[in-house]
């Protein structure tokens, strides 16, 4: 059934949005048109700056006053562009529900969840109050897969997990039986296992209530999992649109092909044909040895173990992927290795130096042997320093090089990460996210380290930029032969880079082994769930994975 057969609930025609100045150049959204049919999920995909969120917000009339919107947005035949604000308010939350990216900040922290949902109901239905209102809130919460509705309703936002909050957010969006839901990156801030549940919930809503869903996402895997139709946007223009299966199977536009090619693939489950080939020298004396290492944080008087008895080693020139969900302690291990957090018990040694017993001088020496790349390139470079100064910082700290020698080395490093030499004089805000991450990599490599710790180096980047940064990391690793601890929540990225994988769950190492083996035929139940939950950018393969995930969830 194609969407043209049914009357669309929402139809957008020739929508253009521009900010500030006049003229074509300032157009953020340019002549976009689509139909949203009941009981179908339409995905708007694109990278940052593609105008996908602006398009969605203009449907609700939620753009700032400086925005100029032209074209037509019709909801059930009524024009929304230029509609009176009272009419738009009735639409928002009434006819169209909205789910945002950050469930943690979408709720007001001082009120219980139930009260906030009740408030949303009462805005549109004045008559409902008292016991009937409370019953309606509980019914909504139960319908989004929160069986413990009474407790959830009485909880404050900080008492719930991200997944629970996002479900509550969806309950709120459903409170007035909307004809359509706009979900703006609804699972981006969540772990994959939680994401799979939320996507399943949205699918159920579509099937049981016939709600139309406009899904905004950058993740091709999410599109493959949930969407029926897809629109690919780039720089405010629709590049391609059509049914998901058709677009993924034979993308018509070059850009869509590039996007799909840039998504790292996980391969089929249970397919262990690929055998790991350990890199040379991996069996020599390891660079990193962790033996029963624990890291504890003191929080309000009680000690919380972020890492609990972790044991693994990283050989020379070996790339080890450290995977786990948020709160699994994977970043803490990275920080413990450079001595930013102390190892409470067990042993941890880097380059032959036992971290627990190392003095100030020793620790400094260890740090000079480690390069560190952080997740957010926007904040890992000092905004007041030029790129050149930032890259030269390790040289300044650990070598006696002259200013001229440092400048020459900075030029060399910039060339290695494929950035022009004149970038040395620029400031971080003048660079794009991917360029900043290249600078961070250049800085990490300045002293030719034995170990590179990369903590989620690509999770803040667009998928096409991610692909090129990963390619760069791979190439530099081959050329310099440093050992690498690659920390990531993204199994596909880890599979692409790592020789070996260590899986962390709640501070404990649950499984480790050659990447190809662990990621293709995991031995542990947790790893299997993690793998099954990660969506792949292929609708057919994803449908199979979804079934597997459901089975695994059922036996839990």
């Amino acid at each position: 059934m194609s969407p043209a057969d049914v009357t669309p609930v929402l139809s957008v025609r020739d929508l253009s949005v521009s900010f500030g100045g006049s003229g074509e150049a300032d157009r953020v959204v340019d002549s976009v048109g689509f139909d949203l049919a009941p009981g179908r999920v339409l995905a708007l995909v694109g990278e940052s700056g593609s105008g996908k969120s602006v398009t969605a917000m203009s449907v609700l009339g939620l753009l700032p006053e400086t925005a100029r919107v032209s074209g037509s947005v019709r909801l059930d035949g009524r024009e929304l562009v230029g509609a009176a604000s009272a009419e738009l308010r009735a639409v928002r939350g009434g006819r169209i529900g909205t789910v945002f990216q950050e469930p943690m900040s979408a709720f007001d922290p001082v009120y219980p969840i139930g009260r906030q949902i009740a408030e949303a109901i009462r805005v549109h239905r004045r008559g409902l109050r008292g016991a009937a209102l409370r019953a309606r809130v509980r019914e909504l919460l139960t319908s989004v897969g929160l069986p413990d509705a009474a407790r959830i309703a009485a909880s404050h936002p900080h008492e719930l997990s991200g997944g629970q909050l996002q479900r509550a957010m969806i309950a709120m969006a459903l409170s007035c039986d909307p004809v359509a839901i706009i979900a703006d990156e609804p699972t981006t801030a969540l772990d994959v296992t939680v994401q799979a549940g939320i996507l399943d919930l949205l699918r159920t809503l579509r099937d049981t209530r016939g709600t139309a869903i406009l899904l905004i996402t950058h993740d091709m895997g999410v599109v493959a999992d949930l969407a029926d139709d897809v629109i690919v946007m780039r720089q405010g223009v629709i590049v391609e649109s059509g049914a998901v299966a058709a677009v993924f199977d034979s993308p018509a536009s070059e850009y869509t092909r590039e996007l799909l090619a840039a998504v790292p693939s996980l391969g089929a489950l249970g397919d262990a044909t690929e055998v790991a080939t350990p890199r040379s020298g991996a069996d020599a004396s390891p660079v990193v040895v962790l033996d029963g290492a624990s890291v504890a944080f003191r929080r309000r008087g009680t000690a919380v173990r972020a890492v609990d008895g972790a044991s693994f080693a990283i050989g020379r020139g070996e790339v080890v992927g450290l995977v786990g969900e948020s709160g699994s302690g994977k970043s803490t291990i990275g920080r413990a290795l450079v001595g930013l957090v102390p190892v409470a018990s067990g042993h941890a040694s880097v380059a032959g130096v036992e971290l627990g017993a190392a003095g100030r001088r020793e620790r400094r020496r260890v740090r000079s042997r480690i390069g560190y790349v952080f997740q957010d390139p926007a904040s890992s470079l000092n905004p007041r320093n030029t790129i050149g100064t930032s890259i030269a910082e390790p040289l300044l700290l650990h070598t006696a090089q002259s200013a001229a020698e440092r400048t020459a080395r900075v030029r060399e490093l910039l060339a290695q990460v494929r950035l022009p030499a004149d970038f040395a004089r620029r400031y971080p805000h003048e660079l794009s996210g991917g360029q900043r991450q290249r600078v961070a990599i250049a800085r990490a490599l300045a002293l030719e380290p034995e170990l590179l710790i990369a903590d989620e180096p690509t999770s803040a980047l667009d998928v096409s930029v991610q692909a090129s940064v990963l390619e760069l990391l791979e190439e530099l690793q081959r050329r310099h032969g440093f050992a690498c601890l690659f920390i990531s929540h993204d199994l596909a990225v880890v599979r692409r880079l790592a020789d070996r994988v260590v899986v962390l769950h709640r501070g404990r190492v649950v499984e480790q082994g050659p990447a190809a083996a662990v990621l293709a035929a995991p031995a542990e139940a947790y790893t299997r769930r993690l793998l099954a939950a990660a969506p792949v950018a292929d609708p057919e393969a994803q449908a199979a994975r979804r079934e597997l995930w459901r089975e695994l969830e059922a036996v839990r």
Binding site: P383, S432, G433, G434
Partner: protein, 335 residues
């Protein structure tokens, strides 16, 4: 297959040549900052060349001109005795030339204000940086000291102190030290707050992970980032110090007569306001102008010093939302 990359096309980006624009060029584009700078410069020059300026019409701030007064001691003539000899009129009771008093008074006000600010900023930055960065018991002690000093009745203490300290001790130096000592806590508190949030930023953690010592992190990473705040705070502190000195002189515990001082002039002029409003207008106006000028200049300086704001001056960038800006940038990069 060619994945779109972010490291492409060096030639296409040549248009956005790099580097920070010259600081003065920056300031010149901001009319308020420029006006402020000019006002401050005029006052500073007037203070430096006070003897030359007052010599133009043969006046100085010490000589009595009793012939310019009437029998009640009030200045003769319009506006407090404004004439071609006395541009701002004369002081009641003494007949001293008010223009000379204002010009010479600027010497005391500006030097005391700037020096006391330097003392306050030096102590405040040192304490604030270290307390915010090191934390722990040191931070707790420093913060309590700051709290105590902020709640301390400074004025009463200073009045008492001036009575105790030997008359031979140079009074301006005493005022500078005392005002500096009672003003650093607010600087320390602002700097500490900034450092606490900067400390969480990844670039500080990155620097530590690279093996940087405390000194390097404090000096190279944190100080440049609080620098703009300090400068702006200092430019606001200078006029408040000038006002503080004026208040002390007003209360009679500042610089003793006959040294010309705006504060003492304002203090005595209050009693003469109904008969001789001109006496309040000129020293008061000078205080007002230098305060406004320093504030406007400080504001412009902060913008000029920030590499993030220094290059975008267009209206569009101030009002367009982030998404629109990122969009523009993305376009350039992937072009």
């Amino acid at each position: 297959m060619s994945a779109p990359t972010d490291a492409v096309d060096l030639s296409a980006r040549g248009g956005t040549a790099s580097g920070r624009l010259d600081l003065f060029t920056q300031l010149r584009r901001d009319p308020w900052a420029l006006a402020g700078l000019i006002v401050v410069a005029v006052f500073v020059l007037a203070a430096i060349f006070a003897p030359l300026i007052t010599a133009i019409n043969g006046q100085n701030p010490y000589d009595y001109n009793l012939h310019a007064l009437d029998s009640s001691g009030a200045p003769k003539g319009w506006g407090g005795g404004i004439s071609w000899r006395h541009w701002f009129g004369v002081e009641p009771l003494t007949g001293r030339d008010l223009f000379s008093i204002v010009v010479y008074g600027g010497r005391l006000s500006l030097s005391v204000g700037v020096l006391a600010t330097l003392v306050a900023v030096a102590i405040g930055v040192l304490v604030g940086l270290t307390a915010g960065y090191f934390g722990g018991w040191y931070d707790r002690v420093a913060s309590r000291v700051v709290d105590v000093l902020l709640g301390f009745p400074a004025l009463i203490f200073i009045i008492a102190l001036t009575a105790v300290v030997s008359a031979n001790f140079p009074r301006p130096v005493l005022i500078v030290l005392v005002m500096g000592f009672f003003s650093w806590p607010s600087v320390a508190r602002v700097v500490r707050g900034q450092v606490l949030s900067l400390k969480q930023r990844t670039f500080v953690v990155a620097s530590e992970a690279m093996g940087a010592g405390d000194g390097h992190v404090l000096w190279r990473q944190l100080l440049p980032n609080v620098g703009a705040t300090i400068i702006v705070y200092a430019t606001i502190l200078v006029p408040s110090m000038i006002g503080f000195e004026a208040a002390l002189s007003f209360l009679g515990v500042g610089v003793p007569p006959p040294t010309p001082s705006w504060g003492r002039a304002i203090g005595t002029s209050v009693q003469w306001f109904s008969t001789d409003p001109g006496y309040l207008v000129f020293p008061g106006g000078a205080l007002f102008l230098i305060t406004l000028g320093l504030n406007a200049f400080g504001d412009g300086l902060r913008d000029a010093l920030d590499p993030r704001t220094s290059r975008r001056r267009g209206i569009l960038h101030r009002i367009a939302p982030r998404s629109a800006r990122t969009h523009g940038r993305q376009r350039k990069v992937t072009a």
